[in-house]
Symmetry: D2
Subunit: 460 residues, 4 copies
């Protein structure tokens, strides 16, 4: 098979060789089936421990599980048209006849499927999602601290607002992403399996075992998962929904960051730039182009994956003890894991190489200073008991714009304001003449936030 004959673009275009190996271990069909086999093994281990299955069933099944492959299971599935039973048949073939009856003993398919998916997603969070996001978080912390004192004009509504530092801008993302990392961990911890049979009432297992709930709990303990308090044929979808929401929400933070960076890279703003290779071509007709293609790509991935949250909610509705109208749709879930991880990886790589143009930041800040002095002027006037300072300054800004005179000049010549000037402290005057330093607690906050998240990241 030529990979360029594939229909889905993720595998052949976006996943690097290195990522592919890692992703496949959790997100591929081989991984899916391996995890199902692991759950079948956990069942037999517990049954053996309880004296229900023969001891030897455990090592036999361990070997069988090792050998199982998606290819083999798919061949069996072609014949019998049932995926889990196909796996069971393949495993049964590999063990002695004494062990055979205890494979899948008392289980329904979704005891295996839901439990193995919970485990697989948990591990995928640990091995794929968290490493990607944490690496990005660390890079953001590095950037925030590096530029904690670099003044930048803050912007609201795309308009010059008041100064911050570039580090402070980044520190906001440190906090948002950090918070999402914790949320993902929390959702991961709630993932739970079930082993309650075909309609959730332990019908079959209670024929065989005294306390089937105990068996269920031991299997989950074996696998490191929580048990749901009750279930139908399937585990309740809410824990999975929460995990998906936490991933989509983290993805949204990445998309916002990418958008901001794209905007900072606009020709007219020009405060940052993606690294550009000496051989790289920016446009097939405009040789000068340097486009924010990596930031654009991250936003684009988000646009593809965010709406899939609708599918998650749609799939959470399942009739009575379950229907299978999620059969195909849940199989696309691994795409979202991959999409988020590779977007984070791309962002990290891009941020590690961005050029921050302090000159441009200074230039823009300078350009803004004429107007943004309005806020500190109003605040200082109010502080010194001007009773209508906001409106007064607002009128002056209108006049300044009309007459093309700098606001501060106008203010210092204004008869209503002059009486207040004497009350202004030296520091206040200085600030009004050099609003570039009017960035408040930007530096302190940046340090505080970065320290906090450095510690938090160490938690499991």
């Amino acid at each position: 098979m030529d990979e360029f004959d594939l229909i889905s673009p993720l595998d052949f275009r976006y996943i690097s060789e290195k990522e592919k190996k890692l992703y496949s271990a959790f997100l591929s069909e081989n991984a899916r089936i391996k995890y199902q086999a692991k759950v079948e093994l956990a069942l037999v281990k517990v049954l053996a421990r309880k004296g229900i299955a023969p001891k030897k069933a455990v090592p036999e099944l361990e070997k069988a599980v090792e050998k199982i492959s998606a290819k083999e299971v798919y061949e069996e599935e072609k014949k019998i048209k049932h995926d889990v039973r196909a796996l069971v048949n393949c495993l049964r073939k590999k063990v002695s006849s004494e062990s055979k009856p205890f494979i899948h003993f008392s289980a329904t398919s979704y005891d295996i499927v839901d439990t193995s998916n919970a485990l697989r997603y948990k591990n995928a969070v640990n091995e794929i999602i968290l490493p990607s996001l944490i690496e990005l978080e660390k890079e953001l912390i590095r950037l925030a601290l590096k530029y904690k004192k670099t003044p930048q004009i803050g912007r609201t509504h795309g308009q010059f607002a008041e100064p911050i530092t570039f580090g402070f801008f980044i520190a906001n993302y440190v906090d948002r992403l950090g918070n999402r990392i914790n949320e993902i961990k929390r959702a991961r911890n709630e993932l739970s399996g079930k082993f309650s049979g075909a309609v959730g009432a332990y019908n079959a297992s209670s024929l065989l075992i005294k306390n089937p709930e105990e068996i269920e709990k031991e299997i989950m303990k074996e696998l490191g998962l929580k048990t749901q308090l009750i279930s139908t044929q399937v585990a309740h979808p809410e824990q999975f929904e929460d995990l998906m929401h936490s991933l989509v929400s983290a993805f949204t933070v990445l998309a916002n960051l990418a958008d901001d960076m794209r905007n900072l890279q606009r020709s007219e703003i020009n405060e940052i730039a993606e690294f550009f290779d000496s051989k790289q071509v920016g446009s097939s007709t405009m040789p000068h182009k340097r486009n924010p293609i990596n930031f654009e790509n991250v936003k684009s991935f988000w646009k593809q994956f965010m709406p899939r949250m609708n599918t998650v909610y749609l799939d959470a509705i399942s009739e009575h003890q379950r229907d299978l109208t999620n059969s195909a749709s849940v199989r696309f879930v691994p795409e979202l894991f991959a999409g988020l991880s590779l977007s984070a990886n791309r962002l990290t790589k891009t941020l590690k190489n961005i050029a921050v143009d302090k000159e441009s930041m200074d230039f823009n800040l300078e350009k803004s200073s004429e107007s943004i002095v309005a806020e500190p002027l109003y605040i200082i006037l109010a502080k010194h008991c001007h009773t209508n300072a906001h409106e007064k300054v607002r009128e002056l800004t209108v006049k300044a714009k009309k007459e093309k005179i700098p606001l501060i000049e106008l203010a210092f010549m204004d008869n209503e304001i002059i009486p207040f000037l004497d009350k202004f402290s030296e520091k206040e005057i200085e600030l009004l003449l050099n609003v570039k330093t009017y960035y408040g607690l930007s530096e302190q906050k940046t340090i505080k936030v970065c320290s906090y998240w450095k510690k938090e990241l160490k938690k499991k």
Copy 2:
């Protein structure tokens, strides 16, 4: 104004008089502005306590806040085209000139807007959402316990699966809804305000106050909210996103329950029925019709509101220190609160009056018994060491269907099975002949789940 001239259907059609009063207190424009005024008051309180504002500003503003109305603010907004400044102007008019400068002192609009919305949503959760959901949860618990022993055929893929009890069916919803109630509480507890000024760096406030972060914390303490670690002009959107997800996710549980009930009300299944008034008309042409209109309505509301989660994610992206491309979209958020609450209320009311038709449940269970005996037969055979029990029974079901002979008869005459029959216990034989009792731990689980959630509901 005639309410039937309104465009939006919520107010005139779906919200009852009683609900309207409650909803308006938190979800209307009057409520929105009241809450903003409350935050302005909290600011002045803290400023007075710190000796920055005069003491008398507090009682003056308290009176002003009481008198403020949306109508007044809207009139001012018409002139100056800025909603929060309009409120500030209206409040300023109502206090002495010594107090005037300290209203909104050092604040940016979103210090007020985001903080007041966090508070308002928190209260709306407490006063609207949780009461509605908890009442529904209690009704579900009542139903589950009432029917904990009422056998019902369980269904997967819309097909007869194995027996449960009607109470067990409901108990699954008790657990799912209970879990969502807790999730909503958790998300509610994380709602947080901000008071960090125009770009989040306390630019203005640090001109006035030594430790502006302390002011921020005291205001939040005053209001009973958490403070975000850092912010831009606006609070980070993630806590709000989490709340909205928890609401949409709870809504999805309601929709699933409504769907299940609709299906149980199908003419062919006929296990439950919505109450039908003696004067009620079911169809304008078919006088016999009894439609599940309330369950349908709940599903329909879900279809209207679930996709709005997309808007929540879209609104979470805001450029740099903020843009205002969420100006209108967030104003629709109260609709979702109302939609969820009134759907829960409708469900509660409908469930309180449903007719459960035990005869039909019995009839359907009886009908299923011929085929569903397959599972216990396979399980008992496997238990008694038949090495290929599933396949054996599967083949018998094919034969039974073809030859129109009950499966159990066929099995008891089968040469391969006969040798195993002697090993079957009396209880096993009995169960095979009366699969209606094959509902496993349905009753025990129902009791356990209901006890658990009765206790949980008492938590705040």
Copy 3:
């Protein structure tokens, strides 16, 4: 009722007095019921014409229809819990007993509901949507023509690309919006009603009338609607879906335009500005702010309404001869009509008053000229048979950036390029030295597109 106690923000906040009157005539509950009554009337007219109903039933019902109000119908609905039957009862009360049996004769509710909605939406398109969009389109045409020669730097990926004119930029929207107007008209023309009874098979009507399909056709003719070839209890949803798509798609054009305008209004770009009233406040703390609040608002409305297309698709699935899980969701449809119309109206008003800053456009274009000359240089070199012109120029742009020498200077001193210079025409040299005029067919295209759409708009 105080309108500020409403939950839904559309009515009290966004719809102006003038819009309210227009919108109510088609989008309110009063309108909904008026249109249903119109369809009941059309039925009786046809029945009378066919000699089935008495002649006098027509004037009697005409009077009754005039008097009907939502209020009256809602009171009846409270008793019998069926909305259409409530209307029928109200109408029946107003006519003689000879006419009574022929009201709603042979009809099922959805004969009335679907047909009246088709008619109502059709009229709402004609009276609300199209006038709003056409007025916007005309304003865009005016702007495009006014600025057809005003050079502006074109931007791709937020980066300086090559020059266009501001009129050309607008002309692209003229074309896109024009195209959507035509698409909406097309979808409107396909709206169709049905009169085929409770399950679509004319069961009842074929008891009464020889050719019930003929009756159906005459009713639709009476109302100016198409008839569907076949239907269930309800009209097929696809024609309505197409209309909704056309509206959402038009809305997306508006959102794109709003985004572009917001970006052009960025402080650093500064090419356009929303009108700002002399009393208007831009920020509650930053007196200098001039925010693109109207463009932001339009984008925000789009974010609220675009995802509702999901609801449209969800509602298109209805079980068997219909279910009613769209009962509430379709009642929100008028909100989308209103949202689109008022967004268009807001855009029109804003565009009529925008300030176009030609100086800034010139400034930005000038700033870009150093780099954008790369494309014409490469093209002219290639034209004169340089075999690797793109790569050559690309390398020069890297060098120019590194050495901070204007690209064109560097090129004119380059040994590889010098031999080609002689081949360049005078016009080509001139263009390279003044890339501002390098805007191709911007002017011609603008004129062509505007002429085309001026004509198209005149079509019905």
Copy 4:
């Protein structure tokens, strides 16, 4: 590469070998690049015809285009990081130096990308989508005609309504799907390319060619595409949006059909059944299960793909002359083509083998007859001038239910009704006693609809 190591499930799980070959020809990366090369060739052909490029460039490029592969282009892309330029470089290497300058001459990347995608999607509609949908439509027509006289109870709200025939039920889908096929054709016909350069103003081309619009038109003619009236760097997204809507809308028809079939297959309804192989396993624990897995699968695919319409609308917003925040998201478009086609194929295959259980249909109809007679009774009473027939019959249905007496018996004994009985015609009486035949024009409509669509399908 082991295909089971892939992340995306479409390729390894859902696409059959036969489908894979067909899909790859239009939907794979190899196809994408082949189509781009085709457009590059069309450009050179037109340039040669106009005397701008040398004649020999055409056969040279034809050969080059034949040899091009995604693999080669990807290797070049790795070096220069620009996909279209990579293709151009690969093509340039394969032609003489005289031809080199004319490859991609005056073009920007999106002249190639948008035009080639329009062509590729058009062909994919013709070769993949339409054949799949038309085969399904033909199967539906076959079924409709086969069962045109097979009575079935019609259901609204999941409740017995009035009788139809099974063919009539299917005929409604014939009409809906037929209508969507026509809509897809219409959208396909509007697909258009562009060749207007980097910002859409023909900047580069107007340096080289007298009438660049003519060149553009000739290229489109060469490829069989329409030309947009004006464009930016990219073609307007609306035509593509319309196509995507038409596909999603058709998909929704399939999902509705699948849902209906699933419901008809419920154990309690049991009117149809998916074919079940003699070796097929329905459940890993319940040997008797026969699940509607194919219908469930179609619904599930729809839940995965429907929400992607959000991505389409999101991608339609592109800043100024374009941004590239759709870079990745549009690459997932082929997944939707594949998803729709294979869902249609699966439906066709499943329908060809469904078992229609006429006995069950009869049984259900019989069961309904007691209540559904209410409509014809009311209609006939009204026809014979009972002035309050609906209410009278409604009251009788309540009584019938309460007293467990068949409605018709009760009616025939009712003092108010007895006087009317004499007026009833023999045929009317007969119908009331045998409501099974009360299916109106079901048969005639079925024939009419099928005839109509048989003819329509022949149109291109």
